[in-house]
Structure formats: structure tokens, C-alpha cells
């Protein structure tokens, strides 16, 4: 993974099998920042969901598309950005999950964005003028003390 001090970045192709690399990457970032276990779980889950959405709904799991994850700590806040150049993604068109519906009416749709919003303090979707889908997620007041030395 590419790293400057306090900033880490990973780019994967948009295949579903590549999402394991994101999970590895986020474990390493959480370790390096010495996040507590609950915070680390929340951050890892939100990032997995955001990357799954980008790879599936924007990039249609095409191996010639890319998804980039950046993590940065700004003061004590952790800011995670997920970018892709797939189809424009409009989060308002995603139906919210049916949390009270019986099993027959459930398919698990909409849970990804629901989890992102529940796990993070701020979630923002943008489409840049040059056609990049960008999701910015912030977890506030979670980074403190000295970073550990990354393992690589």
C-alpha cells in the first residue's frame, strides 16, 4: 500500500475477489493507528460496504475498472475516501432496507449504505465534474497518541 505519513492509499481492480485486499489494508491501517476494537470494527465494516457498492453498482465488477481507498487522519478524526470512475452512483435511488419486513420480503438490499451511516459519524456522496464517484466517511475523535510503525 502507498503511504505518506498519516495517509494510506490502496487501489484494487473492481472484481469482488479483490475486496479481500481492502479488508487486509483496513486491518493494517487500524492497527497502525491503534484504534480500539469497536472503532476498528466499525471503520472496517463501513469501508468494506462502500467498496462493495463501488465495485458492484458503479463498476459492475469489471476487472478493467478500479476502486481506490484512501485513509487519512486529520487531527483526531479518521477520514476515509473511496473513489471510482464507474457509472455515476446516486445514493438517493437506493431504497432503504426493510428492517421490519418478514423474511419473504427481505433480500438484504440497501444494508450497505445503512451500515455505513450507522458505523460512521459522517457519510457524503459526491460526483466530481470529471466523473469520479467519491464517498467520504468520517469517524471523529478516534485517533490519538503515536502511530505504530507500519509493518511494510
Amino acid at each position: 500500500m502507498a503511504q505518506q505519513r498519516g495517509r494510506w492509499e490502496l487501489t484494487i481492480d473492481a472484481r469482488q475477489s479483490s475486496l479481500g485486499a481492502v479488508a487486509d489494508f483496513m486491518e493494517e491501517v487500524c492497527d497502525t493507528l491503534d484504534l480500539d476494537e469497536d472503532t476498528a470494527f466499525a471503520v472496517r465494516l463501513a469501508t468494506d460496504e462502500a467498496c462493495q457498492n463501488a465495485a458492484e453498482h458503479s463498476c459492475h465488477f469489471a476487472e478493467d475498472r478500479e476502486v481506490t481507498v484512501s485513509c487519512e487522519h486529520v487531527g483526531s478524526d479518521l477520514v476515509i475516501t473511496i473513489r471510482d470512475r464507474g457509472e455515476p452512483f446516486d445514493p438517493t435511488k437506493v431504497r432503504p432496507p426493510q428492517l421490519d419486513a418478514p423474511l419473504e420480503e427481505r433480500n438484504g438490499g440497501g444494508l450497505g449504505i445503512h451500515f455505513m451511516r450507522q458505523m460512521m459519524d459522517e457519510v457524503r456522496f459526491d460526483l466530481t465534474p470529471d466523473g469520479v464517484n467519491s464517498v467520504t466517511m468520517v469517524k471523529r475523535h478516534v485517533v490519538g497518541g503515536e502511530e505504530r510503525h507500519p509493518t511494510h
Binding site: Q16, A23, R44, E49, P97, E104, L111, H114
Partner: protein, 118 residues
């Protein structure tokens, strides 16, 4: 915290009452299709009573929940079976709660109770 990437391992055991699927490791979105393959192999063989032993699972995302929902529907069709969960770690139980799935799933403290429920 210290974490160590633990790739998902799946071991399926055909028992008299049901099939016991022991999941061990991290079920990130890349691993959910492996769970689906394991469940499909069981239902393709005409068996529909399944216990997922989750004691070794420390991470899961919505991709896994979609797989479980799908196969729970397959197994419950014509009352031929069910997918039941055993030994959830607290964070995994929280994820199920957050998804509103806890009332829909039969969840047991351990795999022995879950297997015995069939």
C-alpha cells in the same frame, strides 16, 4: 488493537439431523461467495437443514447476510428445512441486530443446541 488477517475457512459436516457448516475467520465481501458455494452444494444435494457455526467468525458484512437470507428462503420453502445460526460473537450479533435480522433467525448459544433443534 492487534489484528491478524484470518482468511475464511469453511468445513461442512453431514450429520444425521442436518449439515453443520463451521465458518472460521473473516467474512468480508470477497469471502461471502465462498459461503454461498458451500450452502449451494448442500441444497443442490437435496439437503435443507443447515447450522452455521459462527464461533470463529469475527467480521462479517452485508454480503454475507444477503447469502444467509437467500438460503434461508431456499431452505424454508415447503417447510423442508431452515438455516440456523450458532455461537455468534457479540459484534456479529450487533450487525444482525442493525440489519433487523435477529427476529427472523433462529440463533443458538452453541452448535450442539442448534443441531439438536432440528
Amino acid at each position: 488493537m492487534e489484528t491478524q488477517a484470518r482468511k475464511l475457512e469453511i468445513v461442512t459436516t453431514e450429520l444425521k439431523r442436518c449439515d453443520l457448516v463451521k465458518l472460521d475467520g473473516r467474512i468480508d465481501s470477497s469471502a461471502a461467495p465462498k459461503v454461498e458455494e458451500a450452502l449451494k452444494a448442500i441444497t443442490d444435494a437435496g439437503r435443507y437443514r443447515i447450522v452455521l457455526d459462527m464461533s470463529g467468525v469475527d467480521f462479517t458484512s452485508s454480503a454475507f447476510l444477503r447469502v444467509v437470507i437467500k438460503y434461508m428462503k431456499v431452505c424454508k420453502r415447503w417447510n423442508r428445512g431452515d438455516v440456523r445460526l450458532a455461537a455468534l460473537q457479540p459484534r456479529i450479533a450487533d450487525v444482525l441486530d442493525l440489519a433487523g435480522l435477529t427476529p427472523l433467525f433462529k440463533i443458538f448459544e452453541n452448535d450442539t443446541l442448534a443441531v439438536g433443534s432440528f
